[in-house]
């Protein structure tokens, strides 16, 4: 597989944001990983890592090293929808455990797992910067704050 032309064009523009030369160029790697994950099926496949390695003049192992370091990059395929529940302290104090329990019940997914029907991947995440609007979830890259269990049920229902 090769990277789609659209992304190659984007990455060629992206690397101009950084100094010239190999070291400057690789600075675009993390933004590029984000774009690949967004555009190419929601996870970073081994092929994507090889393609990015070729683009950024790196070894595939270096790309893997980076992709595997950052929690936002997914190295296995997700379900159709991804629910991330913040379980850090400010959320925990105002009901994150209830949110997580309810999310498990409604989706049938275990934490860091995907529901048997493939619809939902459920994750816990650390503080998302929504502490004074807690509790929160991130559903398919959108924050839902001041969350209630009813609202959670509605959101998950909409995905069904």
């Amino acid at each position: 597989m090769a990277l789609p032309e659209k992304l190659v064009d984007e990455f060629n523009a992206l690397v101009k944001n950084y100094p010239a030369g190999k070291e400057g160029k690789r600075s675009g790697l993390i933004p590029a990983l984000h774009r690949c994950q967004e555009e190419l099926g929601g996870w970073v496949t081994p092929e994507i890592m090889e393609d990015l390695a070729a683009f950024f003049d790196l070894e595939p192992a270096e790309v893997y090293g980076v992709a595997s370091f950052y929690p936002m990059f997914r190295l296995t395929p997700p379900g159709k929808h991804v629910i991330k529940v913040c379980h850090n302290i400010s959320c925990d104090l105002v009901g994150a455990r209830d949110v997580l329990a309810k999310a498990k019940e409604l989706t049938g997914a275990e934490v860091h797992g995907t529901s048997p029907d493939g619809k939902f991947t459920l994750e816990v995440v650390e503080c998302q910067g929504c502490c004074s609007t807690a509790p929160m979830i991130d559903l398919d890259n959108t924050f839902h704050e001041n969350l209630t269990l009813d609202e959670l049920e509605r959101l998950i229902g909409e995905c069904q």
Binding site: E23, S27, I30, L93, G129, F143, T148
Partner: protein
């Protein structure tokens, strides 16, 4: 509001505060124009130095002084950079996002002034990957400013060139540590660098670099516009000015508020202008003073000035001024377990003290909370923490994990021992939806 001047959040009440039009309508970029026309770069640094502004990223380092660490451009002609730290991932902290969301041009104007002062031809704004909305807002503001000739070559006809780029992180707390952030910006794992060399000599791509927090730089245009004296007329002598305080946890009106440094934390908790108090019938059991890394102190310390010295006087820290309030329906051991779990998850693994220590602390707090603690565990916590900090590792994440553990043993030993002796926790853990917290709005001006 409560008899003090507000400015940081003053523009945000306007619906279009995030647009160039909204910003200019409130006087935005006028000070930049004056700076570029009438002031020498060193004059800008002098004002910031004289203002006493201290970094808002957690350490409280004097901003103007930091800028002077950049090498003299006449002797060191290398390219130099300003890196803006918008990683904001210290638990409890949610204030930079308000700036990125509501007033990104204020940040951009500050970046341009700081770059002018330090002779940086480019700045990178590093924003945590989860802040998509904030990223887009700031990116749009940069595009508007560029189109208006405020970013790029020959800004406002002054001959000053400056580029501003956005860069998205990918969800690692360690990338908030300034050298971890630089590694991440360079497309690498976020492994903090040993210091020295310091960023001012060897930063991004090995070039001179200054790292400042979003809120720190957001303060700069206000100070340059109104002067160092004005800034010093607010707050306290050693911690002048106003600060964005994030209040979360078991309070009636959690939110991000502007307040002068040195205001009593009790006022912030109780005043209807701020958090509006705890839920009815509750008492303050404990609070984190400035993010999880500053540790928990007993509720009885609440009447203390929120500034660097005030927090030090109760053995805590101002940190990011993110107050996390814990009422007496909660278990502090449970709260500590959550925080210990976080550091265990976030250690980058380079230093053995931190990699192992954060795991051990987490395991021990967890077993105590679950009623499986051993009689020797409390002393073990102290022993482990003393092996992790202070200053034993490449970066301060290890300290950030050790401090809450030490605070816990110091202030809440009785709770730990009670859990160990009685084999469990008496407090129900299902959170507090039932208590009917009123839904807070996103921003309280």
């Amino acid at each position: 509001m409560s008899g003090f001047e507000t400015y940081l959040m003053s523009r945000m009440a306007r619906e279009d505060s995030h647009t160039l039009e909204g910003y200019k309508a409130q006087g935005g970029y006028a000070t930049l124009e004056r700076v570029l026309k009438d002031m020498q770069p060193s004059e800008v640094t002098e004002i910031v130095k004289a203002s006493g502004l201290r970094g808002r990223g957690g350490a409280g380092f004097p901003t103007g002084l930091k800028w002077t660490f950049m090498p003299d451009a006449s002797k060191d002609p290398r390219d130099r950079y300003l890196a803006i730290n918008g990683d904001e991932s210290e638990p409890g902290t949610c204030k930079d996002r308000v700036i990125l969301d509501e007033d990104p041009h204020g940040l951009i104007e500050g970046v341009l002034m700081a770059c002018y002062a330090m002779g940086c031809a480019a700045s990178y704004i590093y924003i945590r990957g989860e802040y998509r909305h904030q990223y887009r807002r700031t990116e749009a503001a940069i595009a508007e400013a560029r189109a208006a000739g405020l970013i790029g070559k020959n800004i406002l006809g002054s001959g000053f060139d400056c580029e501003i780029y956005m860069h998205m992180g990918a969800g690692a707390y360690i990338c908030g540590e300034e050298t971890g952030m630089m590694e991440s910006l360079e497309g690498k794992r976020g492994h903090p660098r040993p210091k020295p060399p310091f960023p001012a000599g060897f930063g991004l791509w090995g070039q001179p670099t200054t790292v400042n927090n979003v809120e720190t730089i957001f303060n700069v245009p206000f100070i340059v516009e109104r002067g160092a004296e004005w800034h010093r007329s607010m707050g306290t002598e050693k911690s002048p000015g106003n600060i964005l305080v994030g209040i979360s946890g078991n309070v009636k009106r959690p939110g991000v508020y502007e307040a002068p440094l040195g205001i009593s934390a009790k006022t912030l908790l109780e005043s209807p202008d701020f958090a509006g108090g705890l839920h009815d019938g509750r008492k303050l059991k404990a609070w984190f003073t400035g993010g999880s890394s500053t540790g928990m102190v007993p509720g009885s310390t609440i009447d203390t000035p929120m500034d660097h010295d005030g927090m030090q006087s109760i053995g805590a820290m101002l940190g990011t001024a993110a107050m996390i309030m814990i009422d007496d329906s909660q278990c502090v051991v449970r709260a500590m377990e959550v925080v210990a779990r976080f550091y265990d998850h976030e250690s980058c693994g380079q230093c053995s003290q931190c990699r192992e220590g954060t795991q051990w602390l987490h395991q021990i707090f967890r077993r105590i909370e679950q009623g499986k603690g051993l009689p020797q565990d409390v002393d073990m916590l102290t022993a482990i923490a003393s092996g992790m900090a202070p200053g034993k590792t490449i970066c301060a994440l290890s300290d950030a994990a050790a401090i809450p553990a030490n605070q816990m043993v110091k202030h809440f030993r009785a709770e730990l021992e009670e859990h160990i002796q009685s084999g469990g926790c008496r407090i129900n853990h299902t959170g507090n939806f039932a208590r009917g917290a009123s839904a807070p709005t996103e921003v309280h001006a």
